[in-house]
């Protein structure tokens, strides 16, 4: 017997036809077994968490940067600094003369 004889012999085996019920059930697998929803949701959540963290971080950094740019000018405003400075003859504390003069 050569290969062709074997092939011919195997073609003589009883045909096996998948049953209609089997084919119906298998074809409906995408409907009856939707892809694991929880898996999809968890992946989305894993993807979403870093996204939210990133957005939060970006907002904070932007806020700090804008604040730095604007507050820098305020901090070095000479008028503001002048307002805060005292002259050589000035004092925040009232002198003894002033205190006596205020006394009734």
């Amino acid at each position: 017997m050569n290969d062709d004889d074997f092939k011919a012999a195997f073609r003589g085996l009883d045909k096996v036809e998948p049953s209609a019920d089997f084919l119906r059930q298998v074809r409906s697998i995408p409907r009856t077994h939707p892809r694991d929803a929880s898996f999809g949701v968890s992946l989305w959540h894993l993807f979403g968490v870093p996204n939210r963290l990133f957005a939060l971080g970006l907002s904070a950094v932007t806020g700090l940067f804008v604040g730095y740019l604007t507050l820098e000018q305020e901090t070095y405003d000479e008028e503001l600094m002048a307002f805060m400075e005292l002259g050589p003859d000035e004092s925040l504390l009232p002198s003894a003369t002033e205190l006596e003069g205020d006394a009734p």
């Binding site: 012999a9 045909k15 096996v16 409907r31």
Partner: protein, 183 residues
């Protein structure tokens, strides 16, 4: 047999969740798979149950498909492994349908390709083969798989498959011709 790049494309569509692509895959692959599993298990209902499990795995894990495999090879490999597990669970008590028992030697046909008796005799000869030889013969001569694809399904080297086939053919030929010819 489909081309590997077509199979890869089809699996990509299935992995993306396309039910029409999955149906196309089922229509192509279910009949040969059910035939193969029925021959191995000798029980079509059991074979269909296993084939259903195979396609469920394909649907859920299509993204695991390796482009180096043909679709038929990959699907038969999953089915083969499930069938082997099933046969192990049976602990060697493989059911044989009554109408497919071996033909008595006196009724063995002289011309091997003529009638149903020949098919019964071939089935009996296959049943008498060790499992690996039987699977190799079924894949080679019924499913028309080339030896490298059989090697992938059975997880063997191509040399080992060739050796299995040579031994199986000698034994089957002896059974079919009613001789002990070990040429």
């Amino acid at each position: 047999m489909t081309q590997p790049h077509e199979d890869h494309q089809l699996f990509q569509q299935v992995a993306a969740g396309d039910p029409r692509a999955f149906r196309r895959l089922v229509d192509q692959q279910a009949p040969p798979l059910v035939t193969y599993l029925t021959r191995l298990l000798r029980n079509q209902a059991e074979a269909e149950e296993l084939a259903q499990e195979v396609f469920l795995r394909v649907w859920q894990r299509a993204s695991d498909y390796q482009a180096s495999y043909r679709a038929s090879t990959w699907i038969h490999r999953i089915g083969h492994n499930l069938a082997i597990d099933q046969l192990r669970r049976r602990k060697g008590n493989i059911e044989v349908d009554d109408d497919l028992q071996a033909a008595p030697p006196s009724e063995r046909p002289h011309n091997l390709l003529e009638n149903k008796q020949q098919a019964l005799s071939l089935q009996a000869g296959l049943d008498a083969l060790p499992l690996r030889q039987r699977t190799a013969m079924l894949l080679r001569y019924e499913q028309d798989f080339p030896n490298p694809e059989i090697a992938k399904v059975l997880d063997l080297s191509v040399d080992a498959v060739e050796s299995l086939l040579a031994r199986a053919k000698r034994q089957l030929k002896a059974h079919l011709t009613g001789t002990n010819d070990h040429e």
